[in-house]
């Protein structure tokens, strides 16, 4: 009974999320403090949604910005390749680091891309998106390469040697298959690095198709 009364009392309490009084007719005022959804190195590594709300402070040189962004490569690649098989981890990680650092070098311009607390500013949007793309490609490769390479090997496709995953990670995989058995397994690799698999139509296959 006491418990029930307590619960009822709790239900009657006003649900107040902010202790700050706000009169209906108060003059407008905004709170510019950042949310917990700000784009940072953590959201980049996690691949999660975020908003650009860093407050631009001191402008940095392109070289400094590039160095700061490249410094995020390790955390980002580790997070992106969390699910990779141990055997492939090293080569995929190297590929991810290379892609990420190349993207960081390309996008970093002079300006305030990050605020002092590590939040990406509006000026840093382009870089954030380029780095996200590099991260997502690495994650996609980690998911797709092992099954694609296994399929290529099973189907005796030429060019898919023991270094298949490494080639895929570098974006240089080029295999020739006589059937389309691996099209589905390798579809994601196709989208990440166009043209890794070429189907060679032998006369025998052409005949069988007729």
């Amino acid at each position: 009974m006491v418990r029930l009364a307590g619960a009822l009392l709790l239900m009657m309490l006003p649900l107040v999320a902010s202790a700050e009084p706000n009169k209906l007719f108060d003059p407008p005022r905004t709170d510019d403090s950042p949310t917990a959804f700000a784009c940072t190195a953590q959201t980049l590594a996690a691949g999660s949604e975020c908003v650009f709300e860093g407050k631009p402070a001191k402008s940095s040189s392109a070289a400094d910005n590039s160095a700061r962004l490249r410094g995020m490569a390790t955390t980002t690649c580790d997070a992106a390749l969390k699910g990779a098989l141990a055997a492939d981890a090293q080569v995929l990680r190297e590929g991810c680091m290379a892609r990420f650092q190349a993207a960081a070098s390309r996008c970093a311009a002079e300006g305030a891309l990050l605020d002092p607390d590590g939040r990406f500013t509006s000026s840093g949007q382009g870089c954030y998106r380029a780095l996200s793309e590099a991260r997502n490609q690495a994650e996609g490769l980690a998911n797709a390469a092992p099954s694609c390479c296994a399929c290529l090997s099973r189907n005796h496709c030429t060019g898919a040697a023991a270094s298949c995953v490494a080639s895929a990670a570098r974006g240089t995989l080029a295999a020739n298959c006589q059937s389309d058995a691996c099209d589905a397994s390798c579809a994601e690799l196709l989208s990440l690095a166009p043209g890794p698999i070429a189907k060679s139509k032998t006369p025998a296959r052409a005949r069988s198709a007729k």
């Binding site: 107040v16 009169k23 905004t30 950042p34 996200s132």
Partner: protein, 298 residues
Amino acid sequence: MRRNLLPVFALALFGCATSTAGAGATAPATPLVIDRGGPDLASTPNFDARAEAHRFDHAADCEIEARALKASNAERGWKLLRACIERGDFTDLRVLLDGAWDAELRNRADAGEMLTKLIAVRGGDIEGDVAFLHDHRVPVFTLADALAQPEVYAGRLVIMRARVSDFRKAGSAATVQLDEYTHNDDLVYARVGHGHVRTRRVEESGHDGQMGEHHQVTVHEGHHRTEQRMTSDDIATGRQALGKLDKPDPFLEPNKDFVVLARFDGVRQRNDTDEDHDPRLAVVSVLHYFRPGALSLY
């Protein structure tokens, strides 16, 4: 119940001549309060607004009592009004906005919370209720307004019907992602029971032509009973807001509807470049929220 209220317009309607206020053919502006000997609420040391509010059979009478009490004790009148609304069955937004409570709505720090509660009790029809508020120049706006003209609405109060779809904490910042919904009730004729279908063949003859023309037509006749049913639809508007909280709040439960009063702090660009989304996300400071009532009042 020690205290009964008899609005004079009701007496006038039934042609009663015993009104102490001497009501004639026209109803006076203020309702008559008949005091049945209870303590004077304006001065009693044991004033308990909640208990007083629950003594009325009808929430409307509770508001009338609060209005009367306000004349002699403004603070207690307001407390009683709040308690009337917190009963959960006072729904008359028009009465609250008819002028008698204007000063309180303007000056009381908890007026926004109370209005939010009332709109929630009424079912959370944000568009309709905000239109009422605007008729009385109460500066509470919709999320659609704010997103359409962020500079104009920066720092203004917005009200929305929303569900929490995500929560994050970073340092001292606790933020929920709010997905806005609209709620629609429709009265429909719904089939009930099994009903039955009768199929019969009908011979038909043509009327023109000397030879005569005969053919068979199959006719299906269905009979079923229908009843009027109220159906509800919650539709995502596609608008989203990040709601800043002072601290994580377990009662702001995920995927449940809330009527949320918040201050609009502006918009931010998303990292997501999906063309299906608005690239901007509203940022608000959540002030108050309540679960909406099951029915909508228009």
